[in-house]
């Protein structure tokens, strides 16, 4: 691997690269995100944004209590989010633990959802505390079971200890396991990295190591996909494209529950990375409750009156 010709793969070259990145001023980044949050998205643009957001949802269940029944219900919802309206697009993917991948894949295929990929969280999600062998096996299992997308977590402990090479090597190895079969999303758990400087460093580290997507959070730690965190990651993919001509995707996950939240994310994408990223190939939203709010807002727009949760299906 040549790592885009930017580093030679050694920890030394990686650290050198990461250290020359410009810092992020917290106040400035947060005020830019806050300003973009004031964008008022109405009428036709709102309708477009809602449908685009639906197609970007990685519909997620990551509970100890997940059962085959629960996962199948989620799959049905993913394929046809609004059973009464076939014009509503399917979601971007189903996101589950690796033991549920096969169940999800089988059910999706059975109900006409071949086009909906299954994403598996991996590498000892959510903490990432396991041996490399276990992480590799975890990933291999998911791929064998039909996962087309791997959402791996980084070793935050290693990152915070400054062992960037270790974090990097893990991503490289998982990238190898994914091969051509699966897209790799790299989860930072930004709530544990804390600073925007760390988020920027982690973004470049993951992109250099071969990530297809960079993802904010596991959903298990707050704060998660806050607008300024996503802003910093979108800046990173934008600038990485300038460097390499390769577009890396971004996936905020955790805390995005309302249509308003989702539209704010799309505005961030539009005005930071740019319209090229406004596609499920390059932007996903990891969520569960969000989907129903999007559906209710969509009903409001077409019916002209406010919707009730009784008219959208629960998972």
């Amino acid at each position: 691997m040549n790592f885009y010709g930017l580093i030679d793969g050694s920890e030394k070259s990686l650290v050198y690269f990461l250290n020359q990145l410009s810092g992020v001023d917290q106040v400035g980044a947060e005020s830019r995100a806050a300003m973009l949050a004031t964008r008022s998205i109405k009428t036709t643009s709102k309708k477009w944004a809602i449908e685009t957001a639906i197609s970007m949802v990685d519909l997620t269940t990551l509970e100890g209590a997940d059962t085959p029944g629960k996962v199948r219900a989620l799959c049905s919802k993913a394929v046809r989010p609004d059973p009464t309206d076939p014009t509503v697009p399917s979601v971007g993917a189903i996101c589950v633990y690796n033991d549920m991948v096969e169940i999800a894949r089988t059910h999706l295929d059975a109900i006409g959802g071949k086009h909906v990929p299954v994403a598996a969280v991996s590498t000892a999600f959510p903490s990432g505390r396991a041996s490399m062998e276990v992480k590799i096996q975890d990933t291999q299992d998911a791929i064998d079971a039909g996962a087309a997308e791997i959402d791996m977590v980084i070793d935050r402990g290693a990152f915070l200890a400054g062992k960037y090479g270790l974090v990097f090597d893990e991503i490289v190895k998982i990238r190898e396991v994914c091969g051509e079969k699966a897209h790799l999303k790299v989860i930072f758990e930004t709530g544990e990295l804390v600073t925007y400087d760390n988020v920027r460093k982690a973004s470049y580290l993951a992109m250099l190591a071969g990530a297809d997507f960079i993802k904010t959070s596991t959903g298990k730690v707050a704060p998660a996909a806050t607008p300024p965190v996503v802003l910093v990651m979108l800046e990173a993919v934008r600038d990485f494209y300038t460097l390499t001509q390769r577009r890396i995707g971004v996936k905020p996950a955790g805390g995005i529950r309302t249509t308003k939240d989702a539209i704010k994310q799309l505005v961030l994408v539009n005005e930071t990375a740019g319209p090229d990223w406004l596609t499920p190939q390059l932007f996903r939203i990891g969520a569960s409750a969000l989907l129903n709010d999007l559906l209710m807002q969509r009903m409001k727009m077409s019916d002209g009156y406010y919707a009730s949760p009784n008219y959208v299906t629960i998972d």
Partner: protein
């Protein structure tokens, strides 16, 4: 062979200007006569010209950066050193003031002692000004915001003929880090130039205080219109003539002030400029 002892002939002092730490004659070659109360000739001090003023401003400007960046502690020590030097020559100043002005010897003595005490008072202000005039401002946002006062730069002084006011004006201007060009009316020329000798033997950097003797009527309009002078203390100018100077000073919006009371931090702060700095606060 015994000869009768002759009376010794005094060695008289030549009064010149004080510019950039040196004592040049006026470039114009002009002088004026100072006499004692009884009309006796005392000296022919230099009658400064507008070109001398120009040179004084150049010297003051050149000294400005260094003086304003000296630590407040350092400036305070130097001002205190001026007091020490003055103390040692108090009697000289008493007699010069008594000789060339209309006040009594007793009053002259008290003026000189007051002047020394003023220097001590001002010296102490150098590192307290910020505590009095500065502020941290609690703005509604993630910013650390503070205001500090800085010297304006080059301050011209049209001193009144009173020795204490002359000292107040100079000390108030320089303690904060301004450099000065002091225009001294003829009647104060003798003690003013002796004071220049005090400065020359203190630790004051060259150019911080420049002293020109002569006619305020002639020099003050040039100072008022000089675009490289930032502030102008016109306490020594007759009230009726102040308007014209302020009008001329409007061209570069010079800070022009006259003071009723001498010894006051207000006088120091009048030739300072408040600077407010915002810093973002984040991790």
């Amino acid at each position: 062979m015994a000869t009768k002892k002759q009376a010794r002939v005094d060695v008289k002092k030549t009064y010149k200007l004080f510019i950039n730490g040196t004592f040049p004659r006026s470039e114009s070659g002009r002088v004026f006569e100072v006499t004692a109360k009884n009309g006796d000739f005392i000296a022919n001090p230099a009658l400064a010209s507008r070109k001398d003023l120009r040179d004084g401003v150049t010297a003051a400007r050149a000294a400005q950066s260094g003086w304003s960046k000296a630590t407040a502690f350092n400036r305070g020590q130097i001002l205190y050193r001026i007091a020490e030097m003055l103390e040692g020559r108090a009697e000289q100043f008493e007699s010069e003031i008594a000789l060339t002005s209309q006040i009594t010897a007793l009053k002259a003595k008290s003026q000189v002692l007051d002047a020394i005490d003023r220097w001590v008072w001002y010296a102490g202000w150098s590192d307290k000004l910020q505590a009095v005039s500065g502020a941290t401002n609690p703005v509604a946002g993630p910013f650390f915001n503070f205001s500090i006062s800085e010297p304006q730069g080059v301050v011209a002084i049209a001193a009144s003929a009173n020795f204490i006011d002359f000292i107040d004006a100079i000390a108030a201007a320089v303690v904060s880090g301004n450099t000065t060009v002091v225009l001294v009316p003829g009647s104060l020329a003798v003690p003013a130039m002796s004071f220049a000798e005090v400065l020359a033997t203190s630790d004051l950097p060259a150019g911080v205080i420049n002293i020109l003797t002569g006619s305020l009527d002639e020099l003050a309009p040039w100072a008022a219109s000089h675009m490289d002078i930032d502030g102008f203390d016109i306490t020594g100018i007759d009230k009726k003539k102040r308007g014209a100077l302020k009008e001329a000073g409007a061209e570069n919006l010079k800070r022009i002030h006259a003071f009723n009371t001498g010894q006051s931090p207000t006088r120091i702060l009048a030739f300072m400029e408040s600077k407010t700095v915002w810093h973002s606060v984040g991790v």
